[in-house]
């Protein structure tokens, strides 16, 4: 990849700000329920559902249904592939932000 512009390392599934924010929230070794994530990211159910559907299809997010008391909840976690993809994506973003024209190494944040 040496010599390539870092934008080539950006992941299509993480290109929108909402999907990027979902992965940013989930990569902090957390399991978050749907409503909390919606409020945290200040978005609506529909947009978040679409974002999660895309990330889930890409294999970056796992969805688990559960209950807290009698109330159903949907819990979301990042998969290993999702964490790895996010790491590469963030590294590319950092290179872009730093004004680099070549792809960085695979160093984590």
């Amino acid at each position: 990849m040496t010599g390539q512009h870092p934008r080539h390392d950006l992941d299509d599934a993480l290109l929108t700000p909402l999907r990027f924010s979902v992965m940013a929230a989930l990569r902090a070794d957390a399991e978050i329920d749907f409503a909390t994530l919606r409020d945290l990211l200040e978005t609506d159910d529909s947009a978040l559902s679409k974002a999660i559907s895309t990330l889930s299809t890409a294999g970056y997010v796992s969805v688990r249904k559960g209950f807290v008391g009698n109330r159903p909840r949907t819990w979301l976690t990042a998969t290993g592939a999702g964490v790895a993809a996010m790491s590469i994506h963030v590294t590319a973003l950092q290179a872009i932000a730093a004004g680099s024209s070549a792809a960085p190494g695979a160093a984590d944040r």
Binding site: T16, P17, L18, S21, A28, E31, T36, A47, I96
Partner: protein, 301 residues
């Protein structure tokens, strides 16, 4: 952030990339804060239990001339009596240092000023603890139910804090998933934990042996080592940040054993040498064994 699911904002510009990274960091930090509220609630609850156990044992370890009530002054106690007091004090001191290390590793929400809050809670717990120590020394005729009420009031501030942290964590809808990775403690922490176990065990064992000078040297040496190593990678705060549930349970067992030994030394008619020797072994073994047990690791830690 309203609906941003469109693809028109690809972050190939420097400003857009910077803004995305900053937003991602902010979101990640808020999630981390919520997770740490759960850990904080557990730490505060267990410290509250530790303070309560310490205060209750202080009440029960005190012994009047007739075998009931409180002792007529620590100064008048036998060397074994002083050993009991030291046996009580050391694990409590170690537990406080470990809990401080754990708290330092946690993120705090913007609404709480950790230094100020910690000072208030410490003072609110310390005043009843000092008061009960005063009762043990200067007012041995105090009925023990009153002393127990004071003992409970020492752990109350921590209990309240714990409930508040737990409610905040519950409301946040964020939790830590099961760890996917476990690994041994770092070599420095393995050594620290082993030494801690052996030293604590030796301090407890010397509490009932008929050479108080050796016990005093061990205890003073332990306090000195804890103080000197506090900010180094060998210090107790570092140890607490790497421990998993196994290590915390082992320490809880050692802590309870140590303060129960203190009560037995002061109140029972058993041979103090045997009580303290067996107690010292029971204190040391869990810490030494679990120093080589793995602890969970989460990404981003």
């Amino acid at each position: 952030m309203s609906d941003q699911s469109g693809d028109s904002t690809s972050p190939t510009g420097r400003e857009a990339a910077t803004r995305l990274l900053q937003n991602g960091d902010a979101v990640s930090l808020r999630v981390r804060n919520a997770i740490d509220d759960r850990t904080r609630a557990i730490a505060e609850a267990w410290l509250g239990v530790g303070v309560l156990a310490y205060a209750v044992c202080l009440v029960f370890a005190s012994k009047g001339e007739d075998g009931t009530g409180m002792v007529p002054g620590v100064q008048a106690a036998s060397p074994v009596g002083m050993g009991a007091i030291l046996t009580l004090l050391i694990p409590f001191f170690v537990a406080s240092s470990l809990e401080r290390g754990l708290q330092q590793s946690l993120h705090t929400t913007a609404t709480a000023k950790p230094g100020r809050r910690r000072s208030v809670v410490t003072a609110a717990s310390l005043v009843p603890l000092l008061f009960i120590t005063g009762l043990v020394v200067f007012a041995p005729a105090t009925p023990w139910p009153i002393a127990l009420v004071v003992a409970f009031s020492a752990s109350l501030p921590l209990g309240v804090l714990s409930v508040r942290s737990a409610l905040r964590a519950r409301a946040s809808g964020v939790r830590r998933p099961a760890p996917t990775l476990v690994a041994p403690l770092s070599p420095a922490n393995q050594v620290s934990m082993t030494v801690l176990g052996l030293w604590l065990g030796a301090a407890v064992a010397c509490g009932g042996l008929p050479f108080p000078a050796v016990g005093a040297i061990i205890v003073i040496g332990l306090l000195f080592a804890i103080g000197v190593l506090d900010v180094t990678r060998w210090g107790l705060p570092q140890l607490a940040q790497e421990w998993g549930r196994t290590q915390w349970i082992a320490f809880g067992f050692s802590y309870l054993t140590a303060i129960i030994v203190a009560v037995l030394l002061a109140r029972s008619a058993w041979d103090p040498s045997i009580v303290s020797s067996v107690g010292g072994i029971l204190v040391a073994v869990p810490l030494v064994v679990t120093a080589f047990r793995p602890a969970p690791i989460w990404a981003d830690r």
